[in-house]
């Protein structure tokens, strides 16, 4: 294993440059306002009533979304493992799409569909009563659950798949009926997956900005992320307050992460064994029918409705005329591609930034992933933690930190207000994805390969180019495509750090809404979604 001190320092500096600096800048700004340690600002925020309202609203939202994703994911995981539908592998690809769709776009789609005189009312005037109850916490939870459920679902499904086999066989021999077996044996073994999934969704919800800023502001439901953004980006500006709120959010998410680590240590058993992987598949007709209905319904809610709204809006000429055939045209797309309002250059920028981010994170992820490997040694854990920070800390917190750091006056060179700043921000935010894919890929390789490499490879470079890279190529590439996709749609960082005259597709969409050119914004959204789909399919293909 490549694990000397120089390598450790190199990797930790590289990761720390992206992830640790902004956090340190945040702490420095918060606790050393005039070069001297002070707690007054923090105490003031902690003693404010509003902080508690934000806290309770954020937590409440998190709790409900966990429940919402569970209600969707658990039945879906059962359906794709226990019924005949498990043969349709493309369902998994289909149901990763909602997660790949930028949340603010999905939320916009829902708003356009449900609002008074929206698409729902135009199509089914009798259902107009649904509009008012939808614009409430319920609607927000539903939108966010429909966006976040894929990760929870895949987690549950994977553990259900690995659970089968010997456990199930033992249960068959010693247990009673299969339902009883399932409740008494399989379900308890799934508890860690439930816990981890729930914590993951909870943190994701706390960190989410897109849906709260589009839907939440409309129903007057503020959470930490939106409040931080408001304090940073609208008059009267309050940077210290944004920083302190960021710190509160940081601490909250950090604690949740610690709990998650404990859960893994205590509850995760080795459930994978070499034994048979026989599945009990129900053939009951009724179960089959209900499953199909469930999948179709979920498809309609998670993909059908938001995508329909987005597409229709992008095709409308006069928005006030509504859904009439004569009102549909490709004007918005033409405006986009002829670069009116700078749409096309925004798109190119996004593409460029995302590509750079993909390459940088993949390179870093490759070296870091090899170093971390199984993460048993202390130094490996340190590197692992550096790389994990963006997964623990909400994006907006990191962005605040990055802004503070790169604006410090003593820096001789600053990337702030250059395009490079966008790449740095995206790298910071999405580094964990790249590392994760390499790490997972490594774990699948046999130990003996690494031992042989250590013994036989003449130079380190040779080991990297001839052994590690060819073996890990798939993980590196998947990680790269993943970071590319999410960089293409990044919003919160881009809104705050992009230099003048520079826009990305996400900020373009956001600004088109601000400026009232909703159809051009939606046309851009459609293009972004199509590109995303192509990459998602490419990732799936590369797995085979």
């Amino acid at each position: 294993m490549i694990a000397n001190k120089k390598y450790f320092l190199g990797v930790s500096f590289a990761l720390g440059f992206f992830t640790l600096l902004p956090i340190m800048a945040l702490f420095h700004y918060a606790f050393f306002p005039e070069g001297q340690f002070s707690l007054t600002g923090m105490i003031q925020i902690i003693s404010e009533k509003q902080t508690y309202r934000l806290l309770s609203q954020s937590l409440k939202l998190g709790g409900w979304v966990v429940l919402g994703t569970l209600v969707i994911s658990f039945p879906l995981a059962l359906i794709t493992t226990k019924t005949k539908l498990r043969n349709y592998g493309w369902l998994d690809i289909l149901f990763t799409l909602p997660f790949m769709t930028p949340p603010y776009i999905g939320a916009m789609g829902w708003i356009l569909f449900m609002q008074k005189n929206g698409f729902l009312m135009q199509l089914f005037p009798k259902l107009s009563g649904l509009s008012a109850p939808f614009f409430s916490l319920f609607g927000m939870v539903m939108i966010m659950s429909l966006h976040l459920f894929p990760t929870f679902y895949l987690m549950l499904k994977n553990s259900m798949l690995t659970l089968e086999g010997s456990f199930q066989e033992a249960a068959k021999i010693y247990g009673k009926n299969s339902l009883f077996n399932w409740v008494r044996i399989s379900l308890p073994l799934l508890i860690p997956s439930f816990l981890l999934g729930a914590l993951f969704i909870f943190v994701k919800t706390l960190a989410e900005f897109g849906t709260p800023v589009t839907f939440g502001t409309r129903i007057g439901y503020n959470v930490f992320t939106t409040e931080i953004h408001t304090n940073l980006a609208s008059w009267p500006v309050n940077i210290p307050k944004a920083t302190f709120l960021s710190l509160v959010l940081f601490v909250l998410c950090f604690v949740l992460w610690l709990i998650q680590v404990k859960v893994i240590q205590r509850f995760v058993y080795g459930t994978v064994s070499g034994a048979t992987k026989e599945f009990t598949v129900t053939t009951n007709k009724w179960v089959h029918a209900v499953s199909i209905v469930f999948v179709i319904l979920l498809f309609l809610l998670a993909i059908g409705i938001p995508y329909f709204s987005i597409l229709m809006t992008s095709l409308m000429t006069v928005r006030g005329d509504g859904l009439v055939f004569s009102n549909l045209s490709l004007v918005a797309y033409r405006q986009l591609f002829t670069n009116q309002n700078g749409g096309f250059s925004a798109f190119l920028n996004s593409f460029l930034f995302a590509a750079c981010t993909g390459v940088i994170t993949a390179t870093l992820g490759f070296f870091a992933g090899i170093y971390i490997y199984k993460g048993t040694r202390y130094s490996q854990k340190v590197v692992d933690f550096f790389g994990l920070i963006p997964n623990i800390v909400p994006g907006i917190v990191l962005v605040v930190g990055l802004m503070l750091f790169w604006n410090t006056s003593w820096l001789p060179v600053s990337f702030y207000n250059t395009k490079a700043m966008a790449v740095i921000t995206y790298c910071t935010l999405f580094l964990p994805y790249a590392i994760q894919y390499v790490k997972n890929n490594m774990l699948q390789l046999n130990e003996s390969i690494f031992e042989a490499t250590d013994v036989f490879s003449r130079t380190k470079l040779g080991a990297f180019t001839h052994i590690y890279f060819p073996l890990l190529k798939r993980g590196v590439l998947t990680g790269m495509m993943m970071t590319f996709i999410i960089s293409m749609r990044e919003l919160v960082g881009s809104l705050l750090i992009l230099p003048p005259s520079v826009e990305t597709s996400a900020t373009f969409i956001y600004r088109q809404f601000e400026q009232g050119n909703v159809n051009t914004g939606m046309a851009m959204a459609v293009v972004t979604i199509i590109i995303t789909c192509i990459f998602v399919i490419a990732i799936e293909k590369s797995k085979k």
């Binding site: 356009l112 005189n117 409309r218 008059w235 509504g322 604006n407 410090t408 400026q515």
Partner: protein, 347 residues
């Protein structure tokens, strides 16, 4: 001697080209002088770069940038955002200031920047004499190059009885069918709030709107968008130029200025204290105040700062019943008004 000849020649051209009988002799003389200075400056300016933070409207900022770049050869880095975003960006960049020119949609914010010593004066600004005195700083730190009036924007499909005054929206018939942009996100909505609540009935009226189900909805465009799609029937303190533009695009939208008077919100341009390219920045200000710039302003359905410039497809300033508002030194009071508004809206 040559210069003099040139001057005479130009004087002739100017007189021929544009000046109708109205222009007095002294006026033509200043114009020709102005042209000379811009001409000599142009040579030095080409290749320079300035950063402009501009609070829309989008199309206008972009057109200004292009026209100015063509004319002078100066490259403009344009950041477009709401007034709030620009002020936020300035604050965040205090360590390393970047902006040379600020074009804000709120005079009171601009005035507070002046008070804080963030701006530099430009007494030689060409064309400042023609500007509306109420919108421009007497010490030449900023210039009111345009304004927008706030009215009631309504959906022409849904509204049969057009409201005549603010009080109409407090009626039962309007219950829960109207909104207002969030004054903490929209500088013009804050200007309206500040101006309107300075009148006797202001706060009472605001409360009765809330009681009648007024919804607060994002910045100007979000509020307007709800009216365009028919989700709401009307917007209080709708920005007029946006309404006129949507109307020109064929949307079922129109705007009315209430009889009892409304707020006209001036928009101002100024040069930052930290501007690196002062002469190029000054040229940009001159351009905004020039007839060419002012015509672009009018094309964007804004009220030009120079009232001699004819407005296009919209009500002129004289046709709008105005509430008199004192913008100078108003920032602190605006914060108070905003807080008061916040506490009422959360009830």
């Amino acid at each position: 001697m040559k210069m003099k000849k040139l001057g005479v020649l130009m004087l002739g051209i100017v007189a021929l080209a544009g000046c109708t009988g109205k222009a007095s002799e002294s006026n033509t003389e200043t114009t020709s002088k102005a042209n000379e200075t811009t001409n000599t400056e142009q040579e030095n300016l080409a290749g320079k770069e300035i950063t402009v933070y501009s609070a829309g409207p989008d199309g206008l900022s972009e057109k200004m940038k292009v026209a100015f770049e063509e004319k002078t050869g100066v490259k403009v880095n344009l950041f477009q955002g709401t007034t709030g975003k620009i002020l936020a960006k300035l604050e965040a960049e205090k360590g390393k200031p970047l902006a040379d020119v600020l074009v804000l949609a709120s005079l009171s914010s601009m005035d507070s920047l002046k008070q804080a010593g963030e701006l530099q004066a430009y007494p030689e600004a060409i064309g400042k004499d023609k500007l509306n005195v109420d919108w421009t700083d007497a010490d030449d730190f900023y210039f009111g190059y345009s304004a927008s009036a706030l009215g009631i924007t309504y959906n022409t499909k849904n509204v049969t009885e057009v409201p005549k005054d603010w009080s109409d929206l407090a009626n039962e018939t309007w219950k829960e069918t109207f909104n207002m942009p969030d004054p903490s996100l929209s500088g013009s909505a804050l200007d309206f709030l500040y101006g309107y609540t300075s009148t006797d009935q202001g706060w009472d009226m605001l409360t009765s709107w809330f009681e009648n189900g007024m919804q607060i909805m994002g910045a100007n465009k979000s509020a307007l968008d709800a009216v365009i799609t028919g989700e709401k029937n009307a917007t209080i303190s709708g920005v007029d130029y946006m309404a006129y533009k949507a109307k020109a695009d064929g949307e079922p939208i129109d705007i009315v200025y209430p009889e009892s008077g409304t707020v006209v919100s001036p928009r101002a341009v100024g040069i930052t204290k930290t501007a690196k390219e002062v002469s190029a920045s000054q040229a940009f200000v001159d351009f905004l105040l020039s007839d060419e710039g002012q015509n672009l302003v009018a094309d964007a359905y804004l009220l030009p700062g120079n009232s001699e410039i004819a407005v296009k497809d919209r009500a002129s300033l004289e046709e709008i019943q105005q509430i008199k508002v004192e913008w100078k030194d108003s920032e602190d009071k605006q914060v108070e008004v905003l807080q008061e508004f916040g506490s009422i809206s959360q009830q």
